[in-house]
């Protein structure tokens, strides 16, 4: 089998099993996309995984990980006004970061066109909320296409690109987690490489590009007119499909992954409702929808997250004085969670109890299984950090977490992290909590990628306004949680080596006067540093540094002559204090039935950061075996 990078550049048509996120990259290649920018965030990083599977020299477009989503959007905008088809992609909440730029895009004449790929996360599988980004689309007059499957993700990207190019506008391709990550066999079209066009086509006459005063209204008018044009095309678009089951009384209107759930739960019904599956979800194809409404007595809107389509078609039906009964969300539970087949079953059963039989729930014996929250990996420098930092803190102190692997410190046994908001928010939230507060120390945490992403303004503010907090920067040298992408502090970008921006230099440049540094494996030193930092009146920063051990260990394993390492507990020395398993909490330590503690050899990486945590000194490295 060809490697992914080669598949994506195959010139002949072919078919392959592919994840939605990977298939998108083939669509970019075929569509002639020239500039792509992103900031990593689930459910989208596998798009970058596929992009980087193509060697940088062979890649038919430019790609970068930008410092944050707003910057990525601006890179794509700049490229688009210069005549290139561009794309920015990131996760749902990334659009909040990008929004200041994003909401202006539709006002502009994007000469080359721009597709924004959004990975929304109904079910909050890996996000702090399940925000419905269709709201942003309405606010910014931006069309949205929404695929239901990987094959559609591939096809819809090309449609989105065609729209964007034709109307010189931004178009959103809205994906959700299980569209991004589903896999199926997809037929890909042929592709002919195009020569690079190096002409910068920016021309002020194609503007205006300065949306001020009198220019704003015509620009807004043009954006609305484009939206009308897109709607007209949507009415005839094959992206909206009718599943005609010959039911004149009941219809279901749906879009995206919930469509597949509807198909799943209605497949065994003798009389299946008709289904109108929307692919162009903003602006809605009103003519198409009106026809569907007129053809049915009752229409249920099966809509994941918020009631956007529902509201719009109810007002449409009101204006046209339609008699069709439109059933939207009937209770608040219908606003919550991913519309899996199970969820859609419960939604539809409430709507039409007669269609769906009661499921007999036998009185099956169920056993409680302890939950398994995500954990810091064995050897993780953050674990040593939390273990050491906790010793410097009072119970009443307030710890503010930020986004990243270190967020997991809020879990027992560490319980460091009382609040969490979003990327880079910790310093300023902590600063606010330090006001009118002489008794409880405030400690904020920040990862290094997040430091560059959105952390700086809060730190500058703390210097500028003389806030009294301690910030601990957890520097592991990578963007770990999303799969080890490089950031500006690393000295390498996704394409090439680059100048490193050291965290410390930046802090010094900002004017932070009290900076402490320690490798987190030096736990006593770190405890001492944090104590010193807490004693500072004003802003103090501790850089708690250790490379991501998951990444480090993976790299070590690939080296010739690599030997596995691990630690062991000497049962004759162990006094059953349980600090290793219950306070340090490395998942390697396992409680045996007889009360002893053992090391799980499948998990231990032999980093030895645990050795210093044992008061009895019972943990030691296993001697190398031949």
């Amino acid at each position: 089998m060809k490697r992914l990078g080669e598949q994506l550049l195959t010139e002949e048509s072919f078919s392959e099993i592919m994840m939605g996120n990977h298939a998108l990259v083939r669509a970019m290649v075929e569509a002639g996309t020239r500039v792509v920018a992103s900031y990593p965030g689930s459910p989208t990083p596998e798009i970058a995984e596929a992009i980087t599977a193509i060697a940088a020299k062979k890649r038919p477009f430019y790609f970068e990980f930008s410092t944050n989503e707003k910057v990525a959007t601006e890179i794509a905008y700049g490229a688009a006004v210069n005549g290139h088809l561009s794309t920015a992609f990131f996760k749902s909440v990334g659009l909040n970061v990008a929004s200041d730029t994003f909401v202006q895009l539709s006002l502009m004449n994007l000469v080359g066109g721009m597709v924004l790929i959004l990975g929304d996360d109904p079910g909050a599988n890996s996000s702090q909320n399940e925000q419905d980004n269709r709201h942003y689309a309405r606010m910014s007059y931006t069309p949205v296409l929404e695929p239901a499957s990987p094959a559609e993700a591939y096809r819809f990207y090309k449609e989105a690109a065609a729209l964007a190019v034709k109307h010189h506008m931004p178009v959103i391709l809205r994906l959700t987690t299980h569209v991004c990550h589903a896999k199926e066999r997809i037929s890909f079209a042929a592709w002919k490489p195009m020569p690079w066009d190096r002409t910068p086509r920016f021309d002020k006459k194609k503007g205006p590009y300065i949306p001020l005063t009198a220019e704003v209204f015509p620009m807004k008018r043009r954006a609305l007119q484009r939206l009308d044009a897109v709607e007209a095309e949507g009415n005839d678009s094959p992206l909206n499909t009718l599943i005609d089951n010959g039911d004149k009384s009941r219809g279901i209107l749906t879009a995206g992954l919930p469509f597949l759930s509807v198909m799943e739960v209605t497949k065994h019904l003798t009389q299946k409702p008709d289904i109108l599956k929307l692919g162009t979800i903003h602006p809605l194809p009103r003519k198409r929808i009106l026809d569907f409404l007129r053809d049915h007595q009752e229409v249920k809107v099966v809509e994941e997250l918020d009631d956007i389509i529902e509201k719009e078609i109810k007002s449409l039906a009101f204006d046209r004085r339609l008699q069709t009964r439109i059933i939207g969300k009937t209770d608040r539970e219908e606003w919550i969670g991913e519309y899996t087949a199970d969820k859609v079953f419960s939604v539809l059963k409430k709507t039409w109890p007669d269609l769906f039989p009661d499921i007999e729930k036998g009185s099956r014996k169920e056993v409680h299984i302890p939950s398994r929250p995500p954990q810091m990996c064995p050897g993780c420098g953050h674990r040593s950090a939390f273990f050491a930092i906790k010793k410097a803190l009072q119970k009443t102190d307030i710890t503010v977490a930020d986004i990243g692997c270190h967020t997991l410190g809020f879990l027992p046994p560490y319980e460091v992290g009382d609040l969490l908001m979003c990327m880079g928010a910790s310093t300023a939230i902590g600063s606010g909590m330090a006001l009118f507060n002489d008794t409880r120390k405030v400690v904020a945490f920040l990862g290094d990628s997040t430091f560059f992403h959105a952390g700086l303004p809060g730190i500058i503010n703390a210097v500028f306004n003389r806030h009294n907090i301690t910030l601990i920067i957890m520097e592991n040298g990578t963007t770990a949680m999303t799969g080890h992408q490089d950031h500006p502090g690393v000295g390498r970008n996704v394409n090439q080596p680059t100048d490193r921006i050291p965290v410390r230099s930046l802090l010094e440049g900002i004017g932070v006067k009290h900076i402490f540094e320690a490798d987190t494996y030096l736990q006593d030193k770190l405890t001492d540093m944090v104590k010193q930092a807490l004693a500072v009146d004003g802003l103090s920063v501790v850089i708690a540094r250790h490379p991501c051990m998951l990444k480090f260990n993976r790299e070590q394993r690939k080296k010739p002559g690599y030997q596995t390492r691990r630690v062991d507990i000497d049962k004759n020395i162990c006094r059953r204090i349980y600090d290793c398993v219950a306070i340090f909490g490395c998942p390697t330590f396992t409680r045996m039935k007889d009360g002893s503690v053992e090391v799980n050899p499948d998990l231990c990486i032999g980093d030895g950061s645990c050795i210093q945590t044992c008061p009895a000194k019972a943990i030691s490295p296993v001697k190398e075996r031949p």
Binding site: V367, P370, P374, C405
Partner: protein, 198 residues
Amino acid sequence: MDEFNVYLTGVGGQGIGLLSEILIRAADRTGFHVISVDTHGLAQRGGIVISQLRMGDSVFSPLIPAGCADLVVALERHEALRGMQAFLKDRGALVYYDAVWQPLDVRLKKASEVGKETIAELCQSRGIREIRVDWPSLPDARMQNIVILGTLDAYRLIPGIDTAYYEGAMQDLMTEKMLEGNLSLFRNVSARLKDKPK
């Protein structure tokens, strides 16, 4: 075929990703319609990792409805039980590698470890075919997924997938030493289990 659902589960780092990639490619060779979906992102850090594989003509969503899996495959004991309780049909099949990666509450002594006897009892009460796998001589814990693959082959647990399809899928995804090691383990496991049917 109408529908066959395989629910795979384990802990981040156990190799569910590779196992599921081999399975979808092996299943694709049967000619049946196949879709799958894996967990990515945050949950992979020592949390539960799930992969769902669905085969058949009347399969739409990549997500298996609760209680609709024909086969639950697990790489860890607690996750075997969790997957089985939420997804496995009565009289379905459970295959699990009997590794224990203690969940947080067990390590904190707030809950007790699930015993293999508990799983056996529950399987028996629901008519579930239980196949517990352990391969003590394994050189690398990350090969437990291949032991599972050999087991699926030996007992023909997924309809339509022949040995050649599993091997073809492995050849698609691996090269050189990795392929050699895994293929020989796969054949070894499959042959030894075929010799002594359950």
